[in-house]
């Protein structure tokens, strides 16, 4: 029988893992400004890096302690009872089981490396302290999310990372475009969070309205329950009610057949309750993990500093959704519909994002869509019930994607904040360490054999193919096919980005004499002829491809600036083109104001050559590059008859639901075949990209774009504009909500306000009447009384003469009256 409830082992230091970054965040957040001014940057980043490092050390310690325990053990640290509401009780408690252990370790490790990297990357930023404070705060939120032992604490972290992502994306908030990107991320995340919390509510409603058929603790009995009771009250699950919010207790409760039947069979509007719960939770996951339809914020989030992109949008935050689905696997396995939806959405997102990635020119956008795509793979994995594979890919992805992002950051920094790949090239000679690590990570993500990505992605593909839980016609094979195409795309666009960036000659904004020669070669496929706009170009000379090309040529480059050396520069865009030309129009689409940033490309009068980044960045790149290669060896395929440490490690966590995850029953031969196919895909993409983009020497892409048929043009146009999803959202949701708001405002101002005003007017009239009555009658009475009292007082006060003898006289008269009264009465 499965052991749903882990044996809890007290580990009192666990709370330090989230707490240490929080201390750093508060410290730098409150005192950072003054510290930076007085003691310099080192005083900022030393604690800001050491505290997450301490966090990582404690995670590692806990992880090793956990590894020493028998299967089914979890480290537990109860802090205080947080929300005792009726029979429902939520504790501030942290739990590290094998799943959250891996997550915490990954998050803390990659996070710490990114902190180190930021020392170099943010070196020149005046708000250095603020950046580190946010980063630490993010670490706190993320570790709370991962280690929290119940839904509510997870939600705290869930919201916390959302907040931090907003803060960090909009870090350079003076730029309106970036601030808007932060806002977009926040709003989209809120939509998802709303789904998440609705799902939690629905789940507890379902659990609490169902009586337990028997004491659950006794039901699975045995050692687990006994040991749990020895642990004392703090960590135990309530035996009777469905009222605890911890994951393990819910899992326990769901072993009660009555509750399970209730959740599975109770329909709300024709959808099973459990399906509804899972789908709502998955809405949260799509927001946080950038899946269709809520992925739109992630590419825009590249406006933030590159370490942020790496930390939040590649390695940690976006994986929260995957983690959540894996964490609540006991729910998803109960609902085949939800599993199918998760897997399908994952596969479609993988393909969708991969196709968009094919035509992007902004290096960070490529990586962003690649992230969305890879997250789709992870959801595909957890959707088909291969939870450990999803987490495995999550981990390897954290390594290689962080490495890629940080590599791109290194490139961007080296090229003076140039993000357009058409302006790079040849950086391998100039930035060797970056180039090598970037290549390794690219190979990993593309799925080259023996790189980490190969093991995880191939396992996902195989599990999808082999899944028996998918309700689609054709089962998992359809998903496999979609994912395989996505994998091919991944390999292609990643190597495309590598070759465009690192091979050939440098095409950067080298003002002066060196530039024209490079650019005039016209070999850059998408770039050459159209880049040569200059004063000598006739205003009407722009052909259609050039117009198409134009928006891309400015994407991510920051606001358009007239370079000082404009007339002679071939790099001169915008203002020197004919006014009203397609290019000028396109280049301003969706962009901020035309303010010249200090580091505007082309703004430097002198020639500059990209340079290698400082050691704090390259060191991190090397570490991550190593892991991108080696990180996969913990999860070798079964097929090779080698030990799969990762699956064995994760096995107890998912043991409770393993029986509900079924296989379609394909044999080893098929698996070998698929593995071979995966390798073919990886190399296919690689060779295609190499052929087309290496050294910017192949004219095919340019020719294709320049003279292609209407079909090619159309496809390119649609994909390049990201399928117009942003525009569609803008037209539907944004415009729709604006229109709705306007309609409501009209209703408000005309009807509601009219009623309110009418009521107000009537009220005024009444008030006036009442006021009159008040003044005349009520006040009259009151004043009458008052005046009477005053007059009486004025008269009576004369009695009070201050003469004792008068008083005594009164006393005597009173006594006399009393005597007379008594006398009369007695008579």
């Amino acid at each position: 029988m499965h052991e749903a409830a882990p044996v809890l082992q007290d580990f009192p230091l666990l709370f330090l893992v989230p707490l240490l970054p929080l201390i750093g965040a508060v410290w730098n957040g409150l005192a950072g400004s003054a510290i930076q001014r007085r003691f310099g940057r080192a005083a900022i980043h030393v604690p800001a890096v050491l505290l997450p490092a301490g966090s990582f050390a404690i995670s590692l310690w806990a992880f090793l302690a956990l590894a020493g325990q028998p299967h089914g053990t979890a480290l537990y640290n109860h802090l205080w009872t947080w929300l005792p509401v009726g029979t429902l009780q939520a504790d501030a408690a942290f739990l590290m089981d094998r799943l959250s252990g891996v997550m915490a370790l990954t998050v803390a490790f990659v996070g710490t490396l990114i902190h180190v990297y930021s020392i170099g990357y943010m070196r020149d930023d005046p708000h250095y302290w603020r950046f580190f404070s946010y980063l630490n705060l993010f670490m706190f939120a993320m570790l709370t999310l991962v280690l929290g032992d119940n839904f509510l604490l997870m939600f705290v972290g869930w919201e916390g990372v959302g907040l931090c992502s907003y803060l960090l994306i909009a870090f350079w908030w003076r730029d309106r475009e970036k601030a808007a990107a932060g806002m977009k991320a926040f709003v989209v995340n809120r939509i998802g969070d709303f789904g998440f919390i609705l799902g939690v509510f629905l789940l507890f409603w379902g659990l609490m309205t169902t009586p337990a058929s028997r004491p659950v603790a006794a039901a699975h009995g045995g050692k687990a329950a006994a040991a749990q009771h020895e642990e004392g009250g703090a960590g135990t699950c309530s035996a009777t009610g469905g009222t605890s919010v911890t994951f393990r207790c819910v899992e326990q409760l769901l072993q009660d057949p009555v509750k399970r039947d209730r959740l599975v069979n109770h329909d709300i509007a024709g959808v099973g309750l459990i399906t509804l719960v899972c789908l709502l939770l998955f809405v949260g996951a799509t927001g946080k993990s950038a899946q269709i339809p809520l992925y739109v914020w992630l590419p825009d989030a590249m406006a933030g500093p590159t370490p942020v992109s790496a930390l939040i949008h590649a390695a940690t935050m976006v994986t929260a959704g995957v983690y959540m689905v894996a964490r609540t696997h006991f729910l998803y396995t109960l609902s085949p519909v939800a599993m199918t939806v998760v897997a399908t959405v994952g596969a479609l997102t993988a393909l969708f994002a991969a196709t968009i990635g094919l035509f992007q020119y902004d290096i960070k956008k490529v990586l962003a869509y690649s992230t969305v795509s890879q997250l789709g793979f992870m959801f595909l994995a957890v959707g088909v019930g291969a939870y450990w594979v999803g987490i495995f890919h999550l981990m390897t992805h954290a390594f290689f994607k962080a490495c890629l992002f940080l590599g791109s950051g290194s490139v961007i920094l080296g090229c003076h904040h140039e993000q357009d790949m058409r302006k790079m090239g040849g950086l391998r000679k100039l930035m060797p360490i970056t180039a090598v690590t970037y290549f390794l990570a690219t190979a990993a993500i593309a799925g080259f054999p023996f790189f980490s990505g190969f093991f995880s992605k191939d396992e996902i593909l195989w599990k999808a193919f082999d899944s028996g839980n998918i309700l689609l016609p054709g089962g998992g094979m359809i998903l496999w096919a979609i994912a395989a195409v996505a994998a091919l795309g991944t390999s292609f666009y990643m190597f495309r980005s590598y070759y465009m960036t690192f091979s050939g000659e440098y095409r950067g904004a080298a003002g002066g004499a060196g530039g024209p020669a490079l650019q005039a070669a016209g070999t850059d496929p998408a770039h050459g002829p159209h880049d040569a706009h200059g004063p000598h170009d006739a205003p009407g000379a722009l052909d259609a491809p050039g117009a198409l090309d134009a928006p891309g040529s400015n994407v991510g480059r920051g606001p358009l600036t007239p370079p000082p050396d404009a007339p002679g520069s071939l790099d001169a865009h915008g203002p020197h083109d004919a006014p009203g030309s397609l290019d000028a129009l396109g280049s301003n689409v969706g962009r901020g104001p035309l303010t010249p940033p200090p580091d505007a490309p082309g703004g430097h009068g002198h020639a500059h050559v990209p340079h290698e980044s400082p050691w704090s960045m390259t060191g991190v790149l090397a570490a991550l590059g190593f892991l991108a290669v080696a990180g996969g060896y913990v999860g070798l395929p079964h097929l090779w008859h080698l030990p799969n440490a990762f699956e064995a490690w994760m096995e107890p966590v998912f043991a409770g639901t393993a029986e509900r995850v079924t296989s379609a029953g394909f044999g080893h031969g098929v698996e070998w075949g698929l593995m071979g196919f995966s390798i073919v895909i990886a190399f296919g993409g690689f060779f295609a990209a190499r052929w087309l983009y290496k050294d910017a020497a192949n004219p095919v892409p340019a020719r294709l774009l320049a003279s292609g048929s209407r079909l090619v043009q159309g496809v390119h146009r649609v994909v390049f504009h990201k399928y117009y999803v942003d525009e569609a959202y803008d037209a539907t949701f944004v415009k729709g909500s604006l229109g709705l708001s306007r309609a409501l405002a009209f209703w408000d101002t005309r009807v509601v306000d009219g009623l309110v005003n009418l009521a107000g007017t009537i009220g005024c009239a009444f008030s006036f009447l009442q006021g009159a009555i008040d003044r005349v009658f009520v006040d009259g009475m009151v004043e009458l009384v008052g005046r009477a009292v005053q007059d009486a007082g004025a008269r009576i006060r004369r009695i009070q003469t201050g003469r004792i003898q008068a008083y005594v006289q009164g006393l005597a008269l009173g006594a006399l009256a009393l005597v007379a009264l008594a006398y009369l009465l007695a008579w």
Partner: protein
């Protein structure tokens, strides 16, 4: 005291002495005369106490009132004014004087008309021991309270009589 006539004569002498003294206190134009008349009145009251066989009270009346308070009043008279200048009745209160007389008349009429029972005379016995027992028995609390009151009056009188020194300090 066997003879009721003598008995009554003694009472009337004492009563007359008392009431006449009181009349002088109330009506005399000379404050010094009033003071000495008060002396006599109090003496008469002491006699009446003795007549009522309240031996202890008679002695106390002699000691406290006659020996203490009267002397005090005499001192006050001499300290505060000339011997006779302010003794006159207050003309503003002639009416009050009439009322007071009316009160006396009314009281007398009341007494005469309502046939107050003469009451039963208690046995004649020394009261000192019994009063002493009562003071330390059922009346011990008032006794102690009165002692505190006396102390307070003493301190208060001393404080007030010392007066205000120049410079504001009491």
């Amino acid at each position: 005291m066997t003879d009721p006539v003598v008995h009554a004569a003694v009472f009337y002498v004492l009563a007359a002495f008392t009431v006449v003294g009181a009349g002088i206190v109330a009506l005399s134009g000379n404050i010094v005369h009033s003071a000495f008349a008060l002396f006599a009145t109090l003496f008469g009251v002491a006699g009446l106490y003795a007549y009522l066989s309240a031996d202890l009270l008679a002695v106390v009346q002699m000691l406290v009132y006659v020996g203490g308070i009267s002397v005090l009043v005499l001192f006050a008279v001499m300290l505060t004014s000339g011997l006779s200048d302010t003794g006159h009745t207050n003309p503003a209160f002639r009416l009050a004087g009439g009322i007071a007389v009316l009160l006396a008349v009314t009281a007398g009429a009341f007494v005469a008309a309502s046939a107050v029972p003469t009451g039963v005379e208690s046995a004649v016995a020394p009261t000192t021991g019994a009063i002493g027992d009562a003071l330390l028995g059922p009346f011990v609390l008032p006794f102690e309270v009165v002692s505190v009151v006396l102390l307070a009056a003493l301190l208060g009188a001393v404080t007030m009589a010392r007066g205000w020194k120049k410079g504001g300090a009491r």
